[in-house]
C-alpha cells in the first residue's frame, strides 16, 4: 500500500517521561493509585414533568454509572420533584454523575449529601405466620408495624437506615420470607441546611484531586 511519509521512525523519537492512569490523572507519587469506588447519596431537585425520570435513568445506563437505588417523589413545591440517587463510583465517576445530572435542562439543583445526612428506606416484608408471637417479638425489636395479617401470613413495614432494614430482614428470615419489597434510599440534609434547593445550579468545578472521599454513614 502507498501513502508512506518521511521522518524519524517511532523508536528514534523523543519520549515523554510521565504517564497517566486510566482515569486520566497524571501519575505522581501522591495519586498513583487508581481511586476505589465509594458510595455517594445525590439529591436532585428537578422539574415535576413527564419524561424526567426516563431522562435520568437513561443517563445512568448510557454512561454506565453504577446506581444502587433511585427514589423520586413530589416536594413542598408541586412543580418540583426530588430524586435521591445512591451511586457507587470512584471519585471521578461521582463528579461526572453530578455534572451530567446538572446538565439536564429539567434539573434545577444537584448536590451530593454530606455523610451525616438523614437517610431512610422502607421495606414491606411478608412472612409465614405460623408462630405469630415470635414474629411479633422480632417486629417489636425493629419497630416494624404490622400492616396486614391473615392465618397464613403477616406483613410488616420497616423504616430506617439500610443497615437496620437489612438486619430486620435477616431476623425475619427465620420465619420464612414469602415476599419482600424495598424502596431505596430517600434523604434530606440535617438542620437548616438545604438539601438541593432552588438556587443557581452549582457550576463551579472543583478538582477531584482536592475532594476528599466521604465515608458513607448510616444514621442509626
Amino acid at each position: 500500500m502507498t501513502g508512506e511519509m518521511e521522518g524519524p521512525a517511532p523508536e528514534s523519537r523523543q519520549r515523554p517521561a510521565g504517564r497517566r492512569n486510566s482515569q486520566g490523572i497524571r501519575i505522581d507519587p501522591e495519586v498513583e493509585a487508581e481511586r476505589e469506588p465509594r458510595q455517594a447519596v445525590i439529591s436532585a431537585l428537578v422539574e415535576h414533568e413527564p419524561g424526567v425520570l426516563a431522562e435520568v435513568s437513561g443517563l445512568f445506563s448510557r454512561r454506565q454509572f453504577n446506581i444502587e437505588s433511585l427514589t423520586v417523589g413530589p416536594t413542598e413545591d408541586e412543580s418540583r420533584a426530588r430524586m435521591t440517587i445512591v451511586v457507587e463510583e470512584p471519585d471521578p465517576g461521582i463528579e461526572q454523575v453530578k455534572k451530567q445530572l446538572r446538565k439536564l435542562v429539567p434539573a434545577i439543583s444537584v448536590r451530593e449529601l454530606p455523610a451525616d445526612a438523614m437517610r431512610r428506606e422502607l421495606a414491606l416484608i411478608k412472612v409465614d405466620a405460623d408462630r405469630p408471637d415470635r414474629v411479633a417479638a422480632v417486629a417489636d425489636m425493629y419497630d416494624a408495624t404490622a400492616v396486614d395479617a391473615c392465618p397464613e401470613t403477616a406483613t410488616y413495614e420497616i423504616t430506617g437506615s439500610r443497615r437496620k432494614i437489612e438486619a430486620a430482614i435477616e431476623a425475619f428470615s427465620r420465619f420464612g420470607v414469602r415476599e419482600l419489597s424495598r424502596t431505596g434510599t430517600t434523604a434530606l440534609a440535617r438542620g437548616s441546611e438545604f438539601t438541593a434547593a432552588e438556587r443557581p445550579i452549582e457550576t463551579q468545578v472543583h478538582s477531584p484531586r482536592i475532594t476528599s472521599p466521604q465515608p458513607t454513614a448510616d444514621d442509626d
Binding site: 500500500m1 502507498t2 501513502g3 508512506e4 511519509m5 518521511e6 521522518g7 524519524p8 521512525a9 517511532p10 523519537r13 523523543q14 519520549r15 515523554p16 517521561a17 510521565g18 504517564r19 497517566r20 492512569n21 486510566s22 482515569q23 486520566g24 490523572i25 497524571r26 501519575i27 422539574e47 415535576h48 414533568e49 413527564p50 419524561g51 424526567v52 425520570l53 426516563a54 431522562e55 437513561g58 443517563l59 448510557r62 423520586v72 412543580s79 420533584a81 471521578p92 463528579e95 461526572q96 455534572k99 451530567q100 446538572r102 446538565k103 439536564l104 435542562v105 429539567p106 434545577i108 443557581p200 445550579i201 457550576t203 463551579q204 468545578v205 472543583h206 478538582s207 477531584p208 484531586r209
Partner: protein, 590 residues
C-alpha cells in the same frame, strides 16, 4: 413522575393583549398551535427550514405556507437534519429541520446524533400522532422524545396548544445558548390544529437554565502562573472555540504569548494554518509535528475540547508530562477523560481574556518553538505523486484549495477522503470546515453542502469533498441542489472502496477485504447529469486543474467523479488507543 403531568401555562408570557399586532404590515394574530410554532420560528429570526412533508406535520407546513421562512424540501429526512446541522455550523444560529412522525422522525435520528456529538446548534420539529392516539401504536407513531432523549440537549413533547409556541422558542434558545446542541419539539397533530391565540414572543431559555461564562478568578491566577513558568506550552483549540466565536481572541493570545497551536478536528480553522505557530491537527491522523508537540508539552491549554479518543489515543500516554488547563463552558467535560489541574469553566473568549489579563510575562519558550519548527521539517505532510500512478487524492485536495478563495467552505463525508481533505487543505478561517466528527456519519457531505450554501456568503464557494461510499448514501439530495439551483461543487474521491475500512483491513486484518470492496461504482458524472447537475470526470493528472476550474465556474451544482489511486492510504496514523508520539508513517510502523 406522574404521567403527562402538566404545569400551568406560563402566565408571564406576553399574552395577546401585549403581543397583539398593531399595524397592517405586522404579523397577523396567531389562531392555532401550528401558527404559534411558525411564529416562534419567525420571532427567532429563522430564515430557512429543511424538511420533508408528511401526515402528522401537515398543520405546521400549512402555517409555513403563509410565512416568509423559506422551506427547502429535501429528498430524505436524514438530508434535512444534516443540512440544518451544516447551516448551524456555518451561520452559528440553530439550523431548523422538520419531519413528520414515525419514519420521518426516525430518519432524522442520524443527523440529530451528529449534531449532539459535535455540539452543533439545531432545532428539530417532528409531527406526532394526535395525543389521544399516543401510546396506542397508531399509524406512523414512534416515541420520538423517547428515541431522541440520549441524543438531544433537551426535547419536549408539546402537550398544550397554549404552550406549544413557547416550547419551540425555548428549544431554539436552548440549542444556541451555553454549549450548543440539538433540541427537538414533538408536535402532536391535535395540538398544532387546536385553537390558541398565544403569541410565543421572543425565544428565551427557561429561568432555571444557567450558564457560567466567567471562570473562577483564583484558578485563572494559578493557571496564569503555570503558563508563565512553562517552557513547553501548547494551546489546543477545539470546536468550542469556533462555536463560542473566540477564534480571534485565541489567535491573539497564542501570538502575544508565543504559544504553539494545535487544533482538534472540529477546531479546524480556529487558528490559521499558514502561521508559523500553527502545528495543525493532532490525533489519529494528525500531523507528526502536532503529535510530537502534544506528547512532549509541559503545559496543555485545552479550550473548548472534550479530549475525544481520536485525539488522545491511549489515555495513559496522552500528554503525560503536561499539567492541563482546561477551558470549557460545560463543567461535565472537565476531567471527564483527562484530569485538569486547572479547571476553568466559562465561555472560551471570556476565559482566554481573563487568562491574558492575568499573565504578567510570556513563557520562555523560544527553545520549544524552535523544537516545534524542527519537527515540522522532520515530519513534512508530503505524498509521492508519480506520473504513471493514478491520481493521488491529496493532489486533488490541494488543487481544489488552490482554485478557491480563502473563505471557501468544505464539507465532507466520512473516511479516507475526509482525512485527506482535513490534512491537505490549508485552513485559515473558522466555520469553513464542515464535517461529521464525533458521530462519523458517512453521507454527511452532500446534504451538508446544501445547508452550508444557504448559510454562506455569496462569494464563498461551497465544495463537498466526498468519498464514493459516502456519496452513494445520500446522493438523492442532488435533486434538491438542482431544484434550488445551488452553486456547489462535489468532488467524489472515487477508489471503489470503503477506503478507510480497506486500509484497516490491510493493516489489522491481514488484507482480507471483507465487504469493503465495491469493485464497481456508477458513473457519478453521468448520474449527476441525469439529476440535471453538471458532470465531470478526472482520470489523469493533466485533467485535474482544468476540470476543477470548469466545475467551480459552473453556476449550479456540479459533480466531479475523480478516479483516484485505490491503494492510497492515510498517514500519519496513531492506531486506536495508541501512543500519539509513536504515530506510524507507513503501514510497517503500525
Amino acid at each position: 413522575m406522574s404521567e403527562r403531568a402538566t404545569l400551568p401555562p406560563e402566565t408571564e408570557e406576553p399574552g395577546p393583549e401585549e403581543g397583539e399586532p398593531t399595524d397592517a404590515d405586522g404579523p397577523t394574530a396567531v389562531t392555532n398551535g401550528a401558527e404559534a410554532v411558525v411564529r416562534a420560528l419567525e420571532n427567532a429570526g429563522v430564515e430557512y427550514a429543511f424538511g420533508v412533508q408528511g401526515g402528522a406535520i401537515m398543520p405546521v407546513y400549512d402555517a409555513l405556507y403563509d410565512s416568509a421562512i423559506d422551506h427547502v424540501t429535501m429528498a430524505h429526512e436524514q438530508g434535512a437534519a444534516h443540512a440544518a446541522d451544516a447551516f448551524g455550523i456555518v451561520s452559528g444560529e440553530p439550523g431548523v429541520c422538520m419531519a413528520t412522525s414515525g419514519p420521518g422522525a426516525t430518519n432524522l435520528v442520524t443527523g440529530i446524533a451528529d449534531a449532539d456529538m459535535d455540539s452543533d446548534p439545531m432545532l428539530a420539529l417532528t409531527g406526532q400522532v394526535p395525543t389521544a392516539f399516543v401510546g396506542n401504536d397508531a399509524f406512523q407513531e414512534t416515541d420520538t422524545t423517547g428515541v431522541t432523549t440520549p441524543i438531544t440537549k433537551t426535547n419536549t413533547f408539546a402537550a398544550d396548544p397554549d404552550g406549544v409556541g413557547t416550547d419551540v422558542g425555548e428549544a431554539f434558545a436552548l440549542a444556541r445558548e451555553g454549549r450548543p446542541g440539538p433540541t427537538l419539539v414533538d408536535l402532536p397533530k391535535d395540538v398544532t390544529n387546536a385553537e390558541t391565540d398565544r403569541d410565543p414572543g421572543e425565544p428565551h431559555v427557561p429561568d432555571t437554565y444557567d450558564v457560567q461564562t466567567e471562570a473562577d478568578p483564583e484558578i485563572v491566577e494559578r493557571a496564569a502562573r503555570r503558563i508563565e513558568e512553562s517552557s513547553r506550552p501548547v494551546l489546543l483549540l477545539g470546536g468550542g472555540v469556533i462555536k463560542g466565536a473566540a477564534s480571534e481572541e485565541c489567535r491573539q493570545f497564542a501570538i502575544d504569548h508565543g504559544i504553539p497551536v494545535i487544533t482538534t478536528m472540529p477546531g479546524t480553522g480556529a487558528f490559521p494554518e499558514d502561521h508559523e505557530l500553527a502545528l495543525e491537527g493532532a490525533g489519529m491522523h494528525g500531523t507528526g509535528y502536532a503529535n510530537m508537540a502534544i506528547s512532549l508539552c509541559d503545559t496543555l491549554i485545552g479550550v473548548g475540547t472534550r479530549f475525544d479518543d481520536r485525539l488522545t489515543g491511549g489515555i495513559e500516554t496522552f500528554a503525560p508530562d503536561a499539567e492541563v488547563i482546561h477551558v470549557d463552558i460545560d463543567p461535565a467535560e472537565i476531567s471527564k477523560n483527562i484530569h485538569a489541574e486547572y479547571p476553568l469553566v466559562g465561555d472560551a473568549g471570556t476565559v482566554i481574556e481573563q487568562l491574558d489579563a492575568a499573565i504578567e510575562h510570556p513563557p520562555e519558550a523560544a527553545k520549544w518553538r524552535a523544537q516545534c519548527q524542527q519537527w515540522k521539517s522532520e515530519y513534512p505532510m508530503r505524498y509521492d505523486a508519480p506520473d504513471d500512478d493514478p491520481v493521488k487524492p491529496q493532489f486533488v485536495v490541494e488543487a481544489l484549495d488552490a482554485a478557491t478563495s480563502d473563505r471557501a467552505i468544505v464539507t465532507t463525508g466520512v473516511g479516507q477522503h475526509q482525512m485527506w481533505a482535513w490534512q491537505f487543505w490549508t485552513w485559515t478561517h473558522p466555520r469553513t470546515w464542515v464535517s461529521s466528527h464525533g458521530l462519523g456519519a458517512m453521507g454527511y457531505g452532500l446534504p451538508a453542502a446544501i445547508g452550508a450554501r444557504f448559510a454562506a456568503d455569496d462569494d464563498q464557494e461551497v465544495v463537498c469533498i466526498d468519498g464514493d461510499g459516502s456519496f452513494l448514501m445520500t446522493l438523492q439530495e442532488l435533486s434538491v441542489a438542482v431544484r434550488e439551483n445551488l452553486d456547489i461543487t462535489v468532488a467524489v474521491l472515487n477508489n471503489e472502496y470503503i477506503g478507510m475500512v480497506r486500509q484497516w483491513q490491510d493493516a489489522f486484518f491481514e488484507g482480507r477485504h471483507a465487504a469493503s470492496e465495491y469493485s464497481w461504482m456508477p458513473e457519478f458524472d453521468k448520474l449527476a447529469e441525469a439529476f440535471g447537475a453538471e458532470g465531470f470526470r478526472i482520470d489523469e493528472y493533466d485533467d485535474v486543474a482544468e476540470t476543477i476550474e470548469a466545475a467551480l465556474a459552473y453556476d449550479g451544482p456540479s459533480v466531479i467523479d475523480v478516479h483516484i489511486d485505490p491503494r492510497e492510504d492515510v498517514y500519519p496514523m496513531v492506531p486506536s488507543g495508541g501512543d500519539n508520539s509513536q504515530f506510524a508513517l507507513s503501514e510497517d510502523q503500525l
